[in-house]
């Protein structure tokens, strides 16, 4: 009997221990260490050389390359996220109706999300190529002048955003679909009885009901969008994101500082700013969205 009590008291900790031991060493410890590191002049390979207090942050906040990366990240985030989530809502609404072979449709929509990001980035970079890309070929065919996609920030941001949109629209659509299917039938029937148009019913019944999921996708897109790295890196131009850094994102800048210049202290400072930004943006998004949907 005492053994059984010991079992009930101790075993739960043993069950969660393997996770927390690994998580502590390879998750929490590096996290805490980022803060410590950011207060030092720290060479990635040789270790710390001096405690410099807030110097890294002071330098960061007057660094034009940092603001450039921040602006690019924000711009790509907006161009990628807004159309993506709206399209996902549309796709979800299309899937949320009696449909033959619904499993196949859903799978087809999710497929882009399982394709390796690297492969996605490579083929879309080819499609957006200046001389042999299909996009420019189509544009010229329509009588529009070909675009050197990598050369300008607007076009490079658009190109990178298309990669993100392609990869995530279907995934978000399935999240919305799941939420839509959990909306009680009675609500829709009531709306129909009241003579609400389909659009009206979508706007006043479906959308408010799936608000938590919309919120969730907005927060996750924010976190994901501010970590954007692979797509712009492979769009060309190495870690600098083009000759004028026209599509260097924050994580690319972190990569450049930490793993190309070996300035670990500075990179750690970028990490923390990135984290605070994500947290603040997620909160703002959540607050904004809550208000918008409530007013609708």
């Amino acid at each position: 009997m005492r053994l059984a009590r010991l079992d009930r008291r101790v075993t739960p900790y043993l069950l969660v221990a393997p996770f927390f031991v690994l998580f502590g060493v390879f998750g929490l410890y590096p996290l805490a260490n980022t803060a410590w590191m950011s207060l030092h002049e720290w060479d990635l390979l040789d270790g710390p050389t001096a405690f410099t207090g807030w110097a890294n942050y002071a330098a960061l906040f007057t660094d034009p390359h940092f603001y450039n990366a921040l602006g690019n990240t924000a711009s790509i985030f907006v161009i990628a996220t807004v159309p993506q989530l709206l399209a996902a809502l549309g796709v979800a609404a299309l899937l949320d109706r009696p449909l033959r072979g619904s499993a196949v449709w859903r799978a087809a929509v999710l497929l882009p999300n399982v394709v390796p990001v690297v492969a996605v980035a490579l083929v879309l970079t080819q499609l957006f190529g200046r001389d042999q890309g299909l996009v420019n070929w189509a544009l010229t065919g329509l009588g529009v002048e070909a675009v050197d996609w990598r050369a300008h920030s607007w076009s490079a941001h658009l190109g990178v955003a298309v990669m993100v949109i392609w990869r995530w629209t279907g995934y978000n659509a399935l999240l919305y679909l799941a939420a839509m299917q959990a909306v009680p039938r009675e609500l829709h029937e009531a709306a129909e009885l009241d003579g609400a148009s389909r659009w009206r019913a979508f706007w006043s019944v479906t959308l408010p009901s799936i608000r938590p999921t919309v919120l969730f996708t907005v927060v996750m897109s924010t976190i994901g969008g501010f970590q954007l790295f692979t797509e712009p890196l492979l769009f060309g131009g190495g870690g600098s994101g083009g000759v004028d850094r026209q599509f260097q994102t924050l994580v690319m800048y972190l990569y450049e500082a930490g793993f190309q210049r070996f300035d670990a202290g500075y990179a750690a400072a970028v990490s923390w700013v990135l984290f605070v930004l994500c947290a603040v943006l997620a909160l703002i998004n959540a607050a904004l969205l809550r208000r918008v949907v409530r007013e609708a």
Partner: protein, 291 residues
């Protein structure tokens, strides 16, 4: 399949009635467009991968696959050690998957069905770290891995990947659905130890969920790029993604070669997806309701 819009009363009168057949066709057409857009880049990869350089730089780009895929594939295997990359990616993804499933079922079971002091606080840590960007700890993690002597070795990618807060979070939700409290209580009354309860009650009930988590983890690990790029040796211990980025990394990009590599690296994932699409879709959608 739900038929919630098939009720006898329809608002809108004759106008909507008249659009009945059109309304049936339009959504399907719209969906076809969406699916075509989803498939096109994959199709285009195959097109480019099956032509030579002269073929794709023709004035009018070829819109249909050509016959050069085998030659291009041979060239990929000569240019880089693609077998090694495939092997490394498979080793990493399998180890990471097996460990994530084991650790998350253990912890998920404890968080979902057992009572112990500190449970709420510990689980809050899990939830919190799901939301923290991975890149936050990447520089110190690199230093740590160096201190362990793992630069350029697969351990550097495998060991930090053995657990993830996301899988624990996910598995706890699954456990709350699949492992009934009554069963756990019954096992206790019968004098069954908690480890045996996990093994004989929780684990069998969690098998379908574990399969889904295994697939999601395998895909994520196979597709991972930032960390392997930073910490692995592209010549000695490349993964598929690292090798692909290297193929594309030269001054001049040989697209038929690069996209042949991309097709070869994507193929295992797509095959896995097609075989298990139904449960992967189910897993993604289940995550939504709980999230």
């Amino acid at each position: 399949m739900r038929l919630r819009r098939g009720g006898p009363v329809r608002g809108g009168g004759p106008v909507r009635g008249g659009g009945q057949s059109r309304r049936g066709v339009l959504p399907v057409v719209a969906l076809l467009v969406v699916v075509a857009a989803s498939l096109f880049p994959l199709y285009w990869s195959v097109v480019v991968a099956s032509h030579d350089n002269a073929g794709i730089s023709a004035r009018v780009p070829p819109l249909l696959p050509g016959g050069e895929f085998a030659d291009n594939a041979r060239e990929v295997f000569e240019a880089v050690d693609f077998w090694l990359a495939l092997r490394n990616s498979a080793i990493v993804a399998c180890a990471v998957t097996a460990s994530n499933v084991l650790l998350s079922t253990l912890a998920g079971f404890a968080f979902a069905r057992l009572r112990f002091r500190g449970r709420t606080a510990l689980f809050a840590v899990v939830v919190g770290s799901v939301l923290v960007p991975v890149q936050l700890g990447v520089v110190p993690l690199f230093v740590l891995v160096g201190e362990l002597g793992w630069y350029g070795r697969l351990e550097a990618v495998v060991v930090p990947g053995l657990m993830s807060a996301f899988s624990v979070f996910w598995m706890r939700q699954a456990c709350r659905e699949a492992v009934h409290e009554v069963l756990v209580d019954a096992a206790r009354v019968d004098g069954c130890s908690l480890v045996r309860t996990y093994w004989h009650v929780a684990l069998p009930a969690l098998r379908p969920h574990a399969t889904v988590l295994a697939m999601l983890t395998f895909l994520a690990s196979w597709n991972d790029f930032f960390w392997p790029l930073v910490v692995l040796d592209p010549n000695e211990t490349p993964t598929v993604q690292v090798v692909l980025s290297r193929l594309a990394g030269g001054y001049y990009t040989d697209y038929p070669l690069v996209l042949t590599g991309a097709v070869l690296g994507t193929l295992p994932v797509v095959v896995l997806f097609v075989l298990l699409a139904r449960s992967i879709v189910g897993g993604v959608m289940r995550g939504a309701v709980n999230g």
